[in-house]
Symmetry: C2
Subunit: 148 residues, 2 copies
């Protein structure tokens, strides 16, 4: 007997991972939409909701070019969810900081996702297992710079 599943190829696993990941992104977007946020804006807000981060730091965490972050933070700032603050130690650097309003919105979005039916498909043990497997793969992916 060849295990429970019919031995999918490595590429098929990557295709499935990209497909499922994309679907989760869409669900994040759907949860954020009522609050006027996009998925990328949620990711940036998530990255700075606890500790401030520089524009460059955000770009590395999200594995995209720094020039993209300007527009995303522009829109978050216009909505009052974050603010920019020039670093006291290096005046070239701008730190992005979540506002109380931004944290409240993020809390609401994460609350919606917390209730997502997909996560209840798996038991707590399976979720921990899945989490561990994904964590092990991540450093070898393009978003390797992403720390959180």
């Amino acid at each position: 007997m060849t295990a429970s599943v019919s031995a999918p190829s490595k590429v098929e696993l990557l295709e499935l991972l990209s497909s499922v990941g994309g679907a989760v992104c869409q669900d994040f977007a759907a949860a954020a939409s009522p609050h006027g946020l996009t998925h990328m804006q949620v990711r940036v807000l998530t990255h700075v909701h606890r500790d401030p981060a520089s524009m460059r730091g955000i770009a590395e965490a999200l594995a995209c070019d720094a020039s993209n972050i300007t527009g995303i933070v522009d829109r978050l700032e216009a909505a009052g969810h974050v603010r920019r603050e020039v670093s006291p130690t290096d005046r070239r650097v701008k730190n992005v900081i979540a506002t109380d309003a931004g944290r409240a919105v993020l809390r609401a979005i994460r609350g919606t996702m917390q209730a997502h039916v997909a996560v209840d498909t798996l038991s707590a043990e399976e979720r921990a297992l899945l989490h561990g497997l994904l964590e092990r793969m991540r450093p070898a992916l393009s978003g390797a710079a992403a720390k959180s």
Copy 2:
């Protein structure tokens, strides 16, 4: 002892899944870029590389609006990777069919991904396990219509 991992929350699992899935998408895009294709074009080509599919069918499989598929297939067709064919049974329907050139390009891209170091992070058993867990979650996600 609380298992091997410090019990991540449901939301954290979804965030990780979306992050890892996004990174895999980027790696697909990087593998496709030398051939002049984008990640979405690869997904469409993958969907029709064996059997033809209608525009509507592709849209449902990729969980996006049908109007998007027009442009994506336009570009694939201009590059000679697919062709459109009016259905013999319903003249409203157009079936998208991969060309030999399209299949060759897809084979090359999948070959690049097959050698991706990230999949070697896990053993064959772990890959099968991961595949099974993802398959179980997928029906409960927004891309639930996606069959492959």
